[in-house]
Symmetry: C2
Subunit: 233 residues, 2 copies
Amino acid sequence: VALAGKLLGVRVTIVMPEDAPAVKIEATRGYGAEIVLYDKRKEVREEVAERTARERGLTMIPPFDHVQVIAGQGTAAKELIEDAGPLDFLFVPVSGGGLISGCAVAASHLSPGCKVIGVEPEAGDDATRSFRTKTLQSCRNPDTIADGARTHSLGKLTFPLVLRYVYDMVTVSDAELARAMLCLWERMKIIVEPTGALGAAGLFERGLPVGGKRVGVILSGGNADFKLIAKYF
Amino acid sequence: VALAGKLLGVRVTIVMPEDAPAVKIEATRGYGAEIVLYDKRKEVREEVAERTARERGLTMIPPFDHVQVIAGQGTAAKELIEDAGPLDFLFVPVSGGGLISGCAVAASHLSPGCKVIGVEPEAGDDATRSFRTKTLQSCRNPDTIADGARTHSLGKLTFPLVLRYVYDMVTVSDAELARAMLCLWERMKIIVEPTGALGAAGLFERGLPVGGKRVGVILSGGNADFKLIAKYF
């Protein structure tokens, strides 16, 4: 968003928790955005963002619960299937559900029968519980290395899309997630942040019956803070 | 070499120091090569490799001092210049000098006037001293994070090529090298091992007059051992 604003000449303000990865904060500032930090133990980011937008007369860009955001995030699966052909499985990271909603909608049209598997961190398993119980569940500031998946719950738009289009949900521990991420770094030479490696961790660690199948994995986000992550190795 | 051997059905034996990055040893074994480890405090790798080749009747593939190896490594600069057009500067990591010899020869033909700058770790500055004094200098098992640049000296073929085609040599400290590498990882999302980041470190840290110029950097090698490197952050 910061880069888009810079390219389009639009002033951008971004709300982030104080403990966001330093590399993300620096990169966002580097693209010219103003950053509003908040203490996530005391405030909820949606409230901080809404208050900031109201006070300053800004247009709010929500992180996931918006049809255009969902559609845009779904282009990841669209491009993957267009490049790779039909899939049997597609593993997707889940936080607020925008990415998986868009990807699952895209897969259902472009690769009917593809089983879309959502992957969450164990500590922030609200979407998995929501999926199982068919009732929206939440969690508050889950403690996980997957800092992008600390969202409290699925959204008004994404929850019904997840129920309708997603085949199953699984969770992974932080240790499993760190292991999967290190494999992506060391063997595939791709920098993926913990949250972005959730799909790969679900594939590597949950032993789903994918042998001989055509499997896609959405990798998403490269704001890896090496100084923070090093302690997990 | 291990992968090439696997693809071609040729048995491969690789000589590595005991303290080579674990990821490199595992990946090489994973490609089906046999690995001969040696203690670099007691033995010299060229001697270990020659003895192993003699005892087992193997053909030796030297790491840098061979015309075909030099020509092959020079394709890095050839492809870069073909893609990007003529350059004013080209920064290249230097260990045994194969990569920079090939790249400098390629640049001299495809981009005449391009200044090729070789970059070495401070602790293993034998090529820089050789370049300055025009006499082959060596160092023994230099202590540097750039494990691929611990070669003792330039070779019989590479030293005259470096003297003839390289414009200048610079050195970087391990701290500068780690900083440059982290920048490549965090901002460019490219996994480059310390040795492979030498060229970038020379560009970022030495303050050469490159403003407004067309600058190329050869990045080489992604066998980064995160557990080892984490201590430099």
